[in-house]
Amino acid sequence: MKAKVYVRLKNGVLDPQGQTIQSSIERMGYDFASEVRVGKVFEIEVKDDSCRKDLEKIASTMLANMIIEEYSIEFEA
């Protein structure tokens, strides 16, 4: 199965990449997207979901920088 670790910037941390993408969406002629924030997804092949605790450790010490980012973990069959 697949473990998906989502890493995103915390609320309140400026995201200049997201702002640039948002203004590009406007330039494409769409006006419904008021904000864009950029994150990362790590797809990790695992046997089962017993690795959640270890993944939390990996996410908080390496995949995310907890000063500016937060993470969440999902498992997918």
Partner: protein, 232 residues
Amino acid sequence: MKAGVVVFPGSNCDHDCYHVLKHVIGAETVFLWHKDTDLQGVDLVVFPGGFSYGDYLRCGAIAKFSPIVSEVIKFAENGGHVLGICNGFQVLTESGLLPGALMRNRGLKFKCEYVNLRVDNSDTPYTNMYADGEVIRIPIAHADGNYYIDEEGMKELEENKQIVFRYCDENGTAEDDSNPNGSLGNIAGIINKKGNVLGMMPHPERCAEGVMETRDGYFLFESIAKFIGGCK
């Protein structure tokens, strides 16, 4: 003073630092390979600029797991002196030796230019040859130098005089106009509470000799060499 310059795969300012320390300052200087665990008895460790591990994941994020960095963390905890320049500053924040984080520049561009810096604390081992409030010119070259820290952390930095360099104009005024990357408080360099670990985005090793546009970076190396002592 014996100095060690750490070499990660992707470091590209390591030889500049080595040159300044060895040939300009006259310190015994060695390279420290990232896979080594022996600091060879150095008094000062320098994390140089560059792109350690290709900047994969985040700048400096992979370097913190290298064998040499574990040793440098112990070294710093025991009072050893550590200087991080540019990518080296990123390694220091990622590895927890300095507070805060360095994010993508506000303008998203790689900035390579001379900037004015105000010395806000000349009472450190790295800045004792500057004066408080002095404006110096040192070049930057980075895409991820946008310093961030939460409000509480910022208060602590201010209270402990840990902000050493701020981006400013030629008169020493640190406002948004003179901020090249969006750093909070125009922060260009900070020191840890204990005063032995300094991180800065500008490159003092690129302006440490008379042939360069300025010689303002020389005095940072001279400061630490004098502080530790034993150089020619």
